[in-house]
Symmetry: C3
Subunit: 288 residues, 3 copies
C-alpha cells in the first residue's frame, strides 16, 4: 500500500521545501494543499481517515506547514479534533520549520555542552522558534533565560513552557538595547538567537564580549542575522573561543531531522509529532 502524505499549508503556495523533503523521506504520493485554514480542514481529514481500513491507516499521514506558526498550531488542534476514535492518522506540525529548526539547534549545542548542566539564554525567546528552543532546553534540564523586548511577554512564554515541561528552570528577561542584551548573556554558556528576520541583537564585534559563551547559535538565515559576527554557513566555527553555528550551519542536522520525522509518521497511525516528539527523534538520530 502506497504511503500518502497530505500536506496542509497555510500559505497560498504549498511549500516547495516541504514537498522535496517529503519525497526524499520516502513518501509515495504527496497531496499538497495551499491556503489551508481551520475552516476547510475537517472534510479533508475525513477523506484521510475514512478511505482505508484501520489496519492500513498508518500508510496515510498529515504534514502541517506554512509560514504562520500560530495558524499551524490551530490547524494541528483542528486535525486532532476531526478524528473518530481509532480512525486517525499520524500528523506532524512544522510550520516555518519551527520544530525541526529548534531541535537542530539544541542537537548542535549538545555536541559541545551537557545541556542538563547548561545555563542558556534565548534571544527572541517569545517567537515560535525561540519559544521551542527554550522549551526543549528546559525539558533537558537546562537553566534557561528567555529574553524578549517585552519582559511581560517573556514571562508569559515562560509560564506557557512550564505547562509544557516540568524539567529545567526558566527565567524571563526584558531587553532592548545592545547593553541590556549583553547583560542577559553574561554567565551563559549557550547563547541562541532566534529573532524575526531583519532583527539584529548583537552587532559586529560584540561576540568577543560574550566571555562565558562556549556555544553561540544564530538561527536567522537571511542577513542581517541576529548575532552579526556569526556567518549563516558557520558550522562549529570557533570565533574568539566561542563555537558558532549559523542557520545553514545547523541546516544539515535540520534536514536529517525533518526527513526522519516524516518517515516515522508511517510507523503507526496515531503519532502526533510536535516539539517534544521531534526533539526526541532528533536525539535518536544524533545517537545513532
Amino acid at each position: 500500500m502506497k504511503k500518502i502524505l497530505i500536506q496542509f499549508d497555510t500559505d497560498a503556495m504549498p511549500s516547495c521545501f516541504d514537498r522535496v523533503v517529503a519525497v526524499d523521506a520516502g513518501v509515495d504520493d504527496l497531496f499538497s494543499y495551499g491556503g489551508i485554514s481551520t475552516e476547510n480542514v475537517v472534510g479533508l481529514v475525513h477523506g484521510a481517515i475514512f478511505t482505508r481500513g484501520p489496519g492500513s491507516l498508518k500508510n496515510t499521514a498529515i504534514f502541517i506547514g506554512g509560514s504562520r506558526v500560530a495558524d499551524g498550531e490551530a490547524i494541528l488542534r483542528k486535525v486532532q479534533a476531526s478524528y473518530y476514535g481509532p480512525m486517525r492518522v499520524s500528523v506532524m506540525m512544522d510550520s516555518n520549520g519551527c520544530n525541526t529548526t529548534a531541535a537542530a539547534a539544541v542537537v548542535a549545542a549538545a555536541q559541545h555542552l551537557d545541556i542538563s548542566a547548561t545555563r542558556a539564554v534565548v534571544l527572541g525567546g517569545t517567537g515560535p522558534v525561540g519559544h521551542r528552543v527554550a522549551q526543549i532546553l528546559a525539558s533537558q534540564g537546562a537553566n534557561v533565560r528567555l529574553v524578549s523586548r517585552s519582559a511581560e511577554r517573556a514571562a508569559e512564554t515562560c509560564d506557557l513552557i512550564r505547562t509544557q515541561t516540568e524539567s529545567g528552570t526558566l527565567e524571563p528577561a526584558g531587553a532592548a538595547t545592545v547593553d541590556e542584551l549583553l547583560n542577559c548573556c553574561h554567565g551563559r554558556e549557550l547563547v541562541v538567537a532566534a529573532g524575526a528576520a531583519g532583527v539584529c541583537f548583537l552587532p559586529t564585534g560584540v561576540l568577543s564580549q560574550l566571555g562565558d559563551a562556549a556555544v553561540a547559535i544564530d538561527l536567522n538565515a537571511v542577513p542581517p542575522v541576529g548575532i552579526a559576527d556569526i556567518g549563516v554557513t558557520d558550522k562549529a566555527k570557533v570565533i574568539g573561543g566561542t563555537t558558532c553555528y549559523g542557520a545553514i550551519g545547523v541546516g544539515g542536522i535540520k534536514m536529517k531531522i525533518h526527513r526522519a520525522a516524516v518517515a516515522s509518521l508511517f510507523e503507526a497511525n496515531d503519532r502526533v509529532l510536535d516539539t517534544p516528539e521531534i526533539f526526541s527523534l532528533a536525539q535518536n538520530i544524533q545517537n545513532a
Copy 2:
C-alpha cells in the same frame, strides 16, 4: 506508460477522499484540480487528449467530483463536448459520491431482495443520491415510489428518470409530516432514506411501524440521520424484523465500487461512467 487520472473538483480544495481512492485504485499519477467550473475545463481536456497517441489514450482518464452534484453533471457534459472524435479519454462522474453511494445502496438491498419484484420507496427522492437510487431501482424493474416534500418536484424527477430508463415503474408522492411519510412507506419492502444532511424523516421508534419493510437503508452519514432508529454503522442489522443499513454500513461496498470504477477507466479511452455504468460495475463486483 503511466496511468494518469485528472481530478476535476468543483470545490476549492480537491477531495482528499477521492485522491486516496484514486491512489488505491492503481493510478500512477494524479493531477488534482480544485475550483473547476465549465469555464476552465476545455483547455485542460485538450491537454489530456492531445498529449498521447490514440492508442495510448486509455492510460489517461478524468474523474469529476466535488460537493455540488449539478455542477459535476454540467462538467461531465462539457468534458464530453471537448473531445475530438477518437481523441477522447474515459471519464467518471461521482460528485459527492452520488453514483457510488446509490449503487452501493441497491447492491446492499439486492442481497436480501429480488429488486425486479420489489416495491420500494425513496425518501428524499429528488436529491442527487435519492434520484440515482430511484433511477437504478427502476432500471432493475422495481416499482418505485419517489417521495419529496413537494409532490410537483417528485413528479418532475419521475419524468426525468423515465427518460433515463424504460424499466420499472415510478410513482411520485409528496409528504412532509411523519404520518404522511409513514403512509408512503406502507406496503413497501424496501425503504431508502436519501435526504439532505440534517433532515430526519422518521424519528426514533417509528421503524417498527414499517411493517412491510424487509430492508431499510439510511444514506445519511452525519447525525441526525433520516431514519433515527438506524445507526450510521449498521450493516445488515435486524431491527424489529427489518434488515437495516446505515451510511457507513454500505461504505465498504461503496469503496469497492469506487475503486473498481476508477480502475476500469483505464481499460479503454471511451468509457463514460455515470449512474447506469457504475451500477453495472457494482453488480459485477457483487457477483464475482
Copy 3:
C-alpha cells in the same frame, strides 16, 4: 534519488498538457503550481535549491509554462536571480509552447530546405512564436523577412533578435491587407504563419499564388488558421507544389522536442533551456 519537476504556471490552473508531457518524459514527482507570478517564485526556488546537496541538485528542475509568454520570460529571469552560486537547478521556459513550437516548425522546414540558404518570411513575426521562429531561422543563417501589421514593431523585434543571434539577416516589413501580405511572401522559399488565434493572413485559394514557396507552415491550431488553404493536420502535404504543414502536422515533432527537453533538464543542475537551447536539442533529435 527521485526526479522532481517543479511546474511554475502563470495560469490559475497549471497546464494539463505540460503535466502529461512531464510524466511521459520520465519525471518521478511533479509539483504543479498555478497562479505563479514574479512575486511568489523566490520562496519556491529556495525550496528547490536548499533541500538537496549540490551533487544531487540535478534531480530537481523547474518548468515554466502558462498562456502568457511575457510573464513566463519574467519568471525565468526571476528564477535565475534566485539562485545562490552553485545552488541552482536546471530550468526550461516554454510558456504557451512557444519554444517547442518554433523549434518544431524550423525542424519541419529543414527536412525540405537548407535553412542557411533559405529566404524565409514569418507572418505574425512580433508574437511570441513568430519572434522565436525568426530568431531560430536567423541563427541558422537564413534571410528572414519579419512581417507585422506595424512596421515599427516588426523593426523592434528584428533589433531584438539581432541581440540574440549574429547569424542570418533580418528585414522588417509592415503588411495588413492580403495583397501586402502576398507581396511580402514573393521570392520566399519558406512561409511561416505564426499569428494570434483567429487571425487569417491568407484566405482560401491564395496559396497557389505563393509561386516561390517550397514550404508553408501554419502554426495556428484553432480555425480560422493563418493560411486558409492549409489544414491543421496537414503534414508535408503538397498543395500546388508547396509542401504544407499545419499546427497538428508539426505536433508530433513538437511533442518529441518537449519530452526530450524535459528529460535533458535532469542531466545537470545548471541548464537553462530557452529558444536556442531547445532548438539545438530539436536538431539532435532530428539527426539521431
